[in-house]
Amino acid sequence: MTQSTNITKAAPHITQNEALIFERSQTGRQGYRLPPLDVDETPLDEIVPAALRRDDDLEGVPEVSEVDVVRHFTRISTWNYSIDLGMYPLGSCTMKYNSRLNEKAARIPGFSNLHPLAPEEDAQGALRLIYELEQALSEITGLAGVSLQPAAGAHGEMTGIMIIRAFIDARDGEGASANRRVMLIPDSAHGTNPASAHLSGFTVKTIRSTADGFTDLGHLRELCASGDVAGLMLTNPNTLGLFEKNIKEICRIVHDAGGLVYMDGANMNALVGVARPGDMGVDVIHLNLHKTFSTPHGGGGPGCGPCCCTKELEPFLPVPRVARDGDNYSLDFDRPQSIGRVKAFFGNFGMMVRALAYIQTHGPDGLREATEAAVLNARYVAAGLVSDYDKPFDAQPMHEVVFTDKRQSRKGVHTLDIAKRLIDYGFHPMTIYFPLIVQGAMLIEPTESVGRQELDQFVSAMRAIAREAVEDPDTVLNAPHSTRIGRLDEAAAARKPVLRWKPKQAATAA
């Protein structure tokens, strides 16, 4: 055999088994050591009476050594896929490289040891960092006001929608604004949009998408004619990966009807340095620092969901805001029109440090270059897959592209099966069954962090799966074949949920 130079992305290897930490626990093991208590002891009853003290010896909490802990988490970590292993093409999630430099910056003790209630004069560096990041995000979005307080995208969305509500209440007066409680949301939107609108007391009306994947202007006009529209929540590029080419007209229709336009910034990775929401007529937007600005997703967070808005809406941003006077930074709590506070302290500061590091590392040219590379990669994948998969929309995609399982489903192979089979080829699956309006959707977002060779491997893997769907569908239907566990019975898990570990006897007694 000659050595193959055509290396495919993955090969199976041994992984370690590892029980739950509770099943590993051994009485008497310890993983810590504190210095001895160095003050005179007060009798416990004098501190807190026995009736208010814990008396269960923390039953069930594990007893393990430090070595046990390190092996435990190292072993289970190897069961995860991650960006550092390769392409992670989750559409609308922007799984780009998370720089180690940013991690180091956030861990500088002057940041990580700083208490949020430290006096302003003793926290000038942190306030300046917040201010500088706000300035950068304002320039990138073309919107004057920025609050970094929201902790995630949905939180930024809620903040933005509450700002719209507060603005309309102030503009129309409480009485009149009560008749303006409809939020328009396209049928392609992320589920957080309607949930956030609901939290802000709005009724949701759904706007149809056209057959070619854009907001239906006729339907928008019709809905706006009723006079009760407070706003529109729009993702742009939309969740089909298409730039809403009528965005200015859309904003005009909503504005003419007395509403405001909120843009979901989940897809900003297609626009940074190329086009700005503020220039499109958008009034308020949230960004995801954990998408576009590369702060790590961490297996589900933390995020940071800055809310950016026009000058007109700025008085309604959450309190406090950072103000600058020469070299001096301070907190401004005196903002009577503010919607209030959406989180204790100032938001996820550690994520802000990372995002500013990302912006400074890239510089203006680098930011645009990243956008170009991200869109180019998506177009490259789109071109590579169009011969084998149904591409439901003709328009050229931006940073992500949607395909469907239409051709494969004739053989009984569906999107879920294709996604699971992709795991065997060494890739994390794309976003599946989203957006909801595309049957069997596969939403692919490579990001700029993938080289051509790996894009080629991805395209080859997808095409191989398309062939398998015809020639050997069972292999696809039963995938994955290479993982520690097969497909889990999620229906059974939801029917009789087991949401925590319990000791054996207690479990049977319950």
Partner: protein, 454 residues
């Protein structure tokens, strides 16, 4: 740009392969008048060395980060074993997405299952979610959940809940028609006032208390649970200092229906107040009304155990506007850090660190109370925070303590309560050696002695 694998030449080839002349053509679908025709006016690109130097310089201006500190009030200095930050920096954890594909996310899923279990054990509750943004937003979600469970619109809250938590709740519930009653604090005990509890009635969805409360006082949760349950209301308990779970009777054992806590004390750096992590736990019967993600046990066809995200029909991506919450991204990696902390400290460590905090705070409180002109206004039992009343304005006293003695002596309560000019909140943890406590006491004595000599 070193984070972009494809070289400019490779990208040019790819463009040609797509039939495009230049990168600008990638954006042909954007109307020409919307294209930005100039470079962004953001800071110029800099190297790794320059960036670190600039950030070090900014960080150096955070002088409070270098001082011995007795600040608590919702964010606490605790020692975090080295393994915590080391393990969360494994690529497999910190560069993974939400575990939507269980076959290749078992590491994250198992860790969350352990997190949920530990939160249940510490709070004394049946079921916990995979985390909230922080304690404050967790409390807001708990109030909204109580409204869903009871279908009642009135909420009675102790005014000794962290003021910023109450502000966040106000923001969240402002469009829900919830009638929010604040009950005063008893000036003798520092606890929720007994008369104030009379505002509980059959329209009340929940009684909200914090324990230890914002003034450090330990509430009698058993009694409060009885009062709430007597009118069919839920008892929501907020905890800002999670280390207290190792010392105080758990809210679950006292009858709480929902427990929310800030988990930052479990090995998470202060980081100017974020990212933090909200713990959220409740009773089994309310599980389907919970906000946030849940991980459950599941089995594959071969009978192998694994873990999956479950009960997703509560969540926004399925239920949209009828979801129990809009939360999607939570605090995954911070919850992981808290999990590693709890497991490393283990049963004895969580109790020992809590006992040390209580002992050191008791020592500090005694020493401060012995100072001339100082008193401790509240009589209730305390964990690791206490209010001290100075003979002078606390804000100025603490500012001088910082500048002249290099100690952050606590939080002047005038920040939140204009009627408490001389009161300050002192927090003591295992990270404050006796020498620091003694220096605090000496500093307070020095500064007030000089003051009275003038």
């Amino acid at each position: 740009m070193r984070y972009i694998p494809n070289s400019p030449e490779e990208r040019a080839e790819m463009l040609r392969g797509l039939g495009l002349d230049s990168a600008e053509n990638l954006f042909d679908s954007i109307p020409a008048d919307l294209l930005l025709r100039r470079p962004l006016q953001t800071p110029a690109a800099i190297s790794e060395m320059e960036l670190l130097a600039g950030f070090e310089e900014m960080a150096a201006r955070n002088v409070a980060a270098r001082r011995p500190s007795f600040l608590g009030a919702g964010a606490y200095s605790h020692y975090s074993p080295t393994v915590v930050d080391h393990l969360i920096q494994r690529s497999e954890f910190f560069t993974a997405y939400t575990p939507y594909q269980p076959e290749i996310s078992q590491g994250t899923l198992q860790a969350i299952f352990e997190f949920q279990t530990l939160v249940c054990q510490l709070t004394g509750m049946d079921v916990a979610n995979a985390s909230m943004y922080d304690g404050s937003t967790g409390l807001a979600e708990a109030v909204l959940m109580a409204e869903r469970v009871t279908r009642r619109k009135k909420v009675v809250t102790s005014s000794a809940v962290h003021p910023e938590y109450l502000e966040v709740v106000d923001t969240y519930v402002q469009h829900y028609g919830i009638d929010f009653h604040r009950v005063e604090t008893d000036e003798q005990t520092g606890l929720i006032s007994a008369e104030g509890l009379n505002s509980l009635d059959d329209q009340t969805a929940a009684l909200v208390v914090q324990s230890p409360n914002f003034f450090g006082c330990v509430e009698d949760l058993n009694k409060l649970a009885e009062r709430a349950h007597a009118v069919g209301a839920l008892l929501i308990v907020a905890v800002t200092e999670a280390i207290s779970f190792g010392f105080l009777r758990s809210p679950g054992a006292c009858g709480a229906d929902i427990v929310v806590a800030e988990g930052q004390s479990f090995g998470i750096p202060l980081s100017f107040g974020g990212p933090l992590v909200g713990l959220f736990a409740t009773r089994d019967r309310f599980a389907r009304q919970m906000p946030g993600r849940l991980v459950g046990e599941a089995y594959d066809r071969e009978g192998r155990r694994g873990f999956v995200l479950t009960l997703a029909t509560r969540e926004q991506h399925i239920r949209r506007e009828k979801a129990t919450s809009n939360i999607c991204t939570n605090e995954g990696l911070i919850a992981l850090a808290a999990t590693i902390y709890m497991e490393t400290m283990g049963k004895s460590g969580l109790q020992e660190v809590a006992a040390q905090c209580a002992q050191k705070a008791a020592y500090a409180a005694r020493r401060v109370s012995e100072l001339e002109g100082f008193s401790l206004p509240f009589a209730a039992p305390r964990f690791n925070e206490f209010v001290a009343r100075a003979p002078v304005a606390a804000k100025d006293l603490l500012a001088r303590l910082a500048s002249e003695k290099n100690i952050t002596g606590g939080l002047a309560l005038s920040r939140y309560y204009k009627d408490r000019p001389n009161d300050f909140l002192v927090c003591v943890t295992e990270t404050n050696p006796r020498a620091e406590i003694d220096a605090l006491v000496e500093g307070l004595r020095d500064l007030t002695a000089r003051q009275s000599n003038r």
